[in-house]
């Protein structure tokens, strides 16, 4: 959606059936109070959320394509303890994108052994009831 000057007011893109909105920076006290939505490029590379993109296959080729288009690959494709192969990239304005595809299945016990972390499935189980 663009205004008469061609500026983007709002947009949506999709990838493998998932959707993501793309917008210019904005502040609007009547909509979001004191919050301001800004690009990481405006705040020294900091971001308050990132998106994980899950694909059934083709992760390495996807990374090659992103690199060829100038993505900064901050973590090359790698098999992770939680049963996914992942890579991470930064887009030109510094948003972090995490790409993942299924790898060897990992059980909860496998994950706890690999990391030394405790895995819970509720706040109560973790002692935060």
């Amino acid at each position: 959606m663009t205004d008469a000057a061609g500026q983007v007011a709002y947009s949506e893109m999709s990838f493998l059936g998932g959707s993501v909105s793309i917008n210019p920076e904005f502040a609007a006290p009547d909509l979001i109070g004191a919050a301001r939505m800004v690009s990481p490029a405006a705040i020294e590379g900091r971001g308050t959320q990132f998106v994980s993109v899950h694909m059934p296959d083709g992760l390495d080729a996807h990374c090659d394509r992103a690199r060829a288009a100038g993505a900064r690959i901050t973590q090359a494709p790698n098999d992770e303890f939680y049963g996914e192969r992942t890579y991470r990239a930064m887009d030109p304005e510094g948003h972090v994108w995490n790409f993942a595809q299924p790898a060897a299945a990992a059980s909860a016990a496998d994950m706890e052994a690999a990391t030394g972390l405790k895995l819970s499935t509720s706040l109560k189980e973790a002692g935060h009831g």
Partner: protein, 159 residues
């Protein structure tokens, strides 16, 4: 656990446990995965709302992110690089009332929008923006253009 959609957002907090408790009470989210170290610090967590997942993590930076650093808006003077849109099938006014009762700052009250959705917006305790939306009527592209004065395209062709 629900089938994982292609795109899953991860939201960063100074105090993820406090945030998760609040998200359960205010928005009705459920905790599904919580990874903690020996001191109880959150490594990673996932919550679900009406079948959709969202990641919750503590602030972090480091090698995996190059120069990127994931922060809470509370540490950025209220700035945020993304916000979350949550689609509700029904019950948006009751959802807003529940969030308000739990202390959410409602920055835009539930209202019908020109694009056919009823929406409200809220800030959580650390300042993340949440936009809740429920479809209330079907609006054509022409109707949206007429109501907003904006031009609508369905691809980048010609831009």
């Amino acid at each position: 656990m629900a089938e994982r959609p292609a795109l899953v957002a991860c939201v960063f907090y100074k105090d993820p446990i406090a945030a998760m408790k609040w998200l359960e009470t205010a928005f009705g989210f459920e905790t599904t995965v919580l990874l903690t170290d020996a001191e109880g610090n959150v490594g990673h967590a996932e919550m679900e709302f009406r079948g959709a997942p969202v990641g919750i993590s503590a602030e972090f930076g480091g090698g995996l992110l190059g120069g990127g650093r994931m922060k809470s808006p509370q540490n950025l003077g209220g700035d945020g690089s993304q916000f979350m849109r949550v689609q509700l099938a029904d019950g948006i006014d009751a959802h807003c009332a529940q969030a308000r009762a739990a202390g959410a700052r409602i920055t835009a009250e539930p209202a019908d929008q020109f694009y056919g959705a009823r929406t409200y917006r809220a800030l959580d305790p650390e300042g993340h923006v949440w936009n809740f939306s429920q479809e209330v009527r079907v609006v054509s592209g022409e109707q949206m253009e007429a109501a907003s004065g904006l031009k609508i395209r369905t691809s980048l062709e010609g831009v």
